[in-house]
């Protein structure tokens, strides 16, 4: 084996990969016709390539595939916190969430205001004595104005009474007024 053999053997890879430059093929051919050693090397090179490229592809057992699947699907159940956060922000209906929240808030506020108003009305309470006095006052007042003013003025006074007094007092007045004057007495 000499210097030329080294050079020729370095061309075996390009030769077998079909990447030779112009003139190199004839150079190899000429050398091989004279060098038994390089012929053997080239033959061995071909055999090694063929043997390696034709090694059988081994088959995974069913049991191994099952093991892989159980491990991978199992990991899916134990996703890390970062993964959970990422999936949370990938929620596709995010756009309608603010609208839904707004509707809920408005409904809540309306309901709450209604409750407050109801409480306020209910909280207006009078003692029996106040009711009696109001009824007495109303009776005297109506009796007084009934004789002093005409129908239109009486209506106006009644309206004032109705507007100013709470419903319970108005009821008291109605109860105290005689039936022929529109009351229930």
């Amino acid at each position: 084996m000499n210097m030329q053999c080294d050079e020729i053997q370095s061309l075996f890879d390009p030769l077998l990969d079909h990447h030779l430059k112009r003139g190199e093929k004839s150079k190899i051919k000429n050398h091989l016709s004279e060098c038994e050693h390089c012929r053997q090397v080239l033959q061995m090179e071909k055999e090694i390539r063929r043997s390696l490229s034709h090694l059988p592809e081994l088959q995974c057992s069913e049991e191994l595939v099952r093991r892989i699947q159980s491990k991978t699907w199992g990991i899916q159940e134990k996703e890390p916190l970062t993964e959970k956060i990422r999936l949370f922000f990938q929620f596709r209906y995010w756009k309608i969430v603010p609208v839904g929240v707004a509707i809920v808030v408005v409904a809540f506020l309306l309901f709450r205001n209604q409750e407050i108003y109801k409480d306020q009305v209910d909280s207006v309470s009078y003692t029996q004595e106040e009711i009696r006095q109001a009824r007495e006052q109303a009776r005297w007042t109506l009796a007084y104005v009934d004789n002093k003013i005409d129908e239109s003025e009486k209506k106006a006074v009644e309206d004032v009474f109705i507007d100013r007094l709470p419903k319970i007092v108005r009821d008291c007045i109605r109860n105290a007024v005689p039936i022929f004057k529109g009351g229930q007495q």
Binding site: M44, E45, S51, L52, P56, E57, L58, V65
Partner: protein, 185 residues
């Protein structure tokens, strides 16, 4: 990568990974462990890997797992004196075809010699030869898998084949002579 894509990829690539790991490690159980680990990692990192780079990625993981396993076994051997791997390998050859696929698949005489010779090469050279000739990867992809540049891969493969030839001639001269004669005829 969703579950369906993952399953398809598993079906397509599982045998390739298993075969590479087996021919690299020459131990069936270790090859199965590596295959399982590769696909578990693929599932864990499925959203971080670019779709067109999945194949080099899993090959790199497979290679790294093989190297880790070899280092671990070397450390075990150093501490405990006996390689459990060898023990398993011998018993599997004797008792169970499932544990030793070389008893179930058809190999030529030269392929058996080459597989034995490959074990005498360095891990990097062995992986380059297997990736290039058995798996059919080009130099640049091998560089990506092994995290090295293309020229290093080219030189590594060239030297690897030379070493392989030398080992075959030195270790198995009679068999090589016989094989050469068969092919020469």
């Amino acid at each position: 990568m969703n579950q369906l894509t993952y399953k398809k990829f598993l079906d397509k690539e599982k045998n390739r990974i298993l075969s590479y790991a087996y021919y690299f490690l020459r131990n069936w159980e270790d090859a199965e462990d590596v295959t399982q680990e590769v696909f578990v990692k693929l599932w864990q990192y499925r959203d971080k890997i670019e779709q067109n780079k999945v194949t080099p990625w899993i090959m790199r993981v497979a290679h790294n797992q093989c190297i880790d396993l070899i280092r671990k076994k070397k450390a075990d051997k150093r501490y405990f004196g006996v390689s459990l791997d060898n023990h398993l390998h011998i018993t599997s050859q004797k008792s169970d075809k499932i544990l030793n696929p070389e008893l179930s698949y058809e190999y030529s005489e030269l392929q058996k010699l080459i597989l034995n010779a490959l074990e005498m090469l360095t891990e990097k050279t062995r992986s380059m030869l297997l990736l290039h000739y058995f798996q059919g990867y080009k130099y640049d992809v091998i560089g990506e898998i092994l995290n090295t540049n293309v020229n290093t891969v080219k030189v590594g493969i060239h030297r690897g084949k030379k070493l392989l030839r030398d080992i075959l001639k030195e270790q198995f001269p009679e068999q090589i002579e016989k094989v050469s004669n068969e092919h020469a005829v």
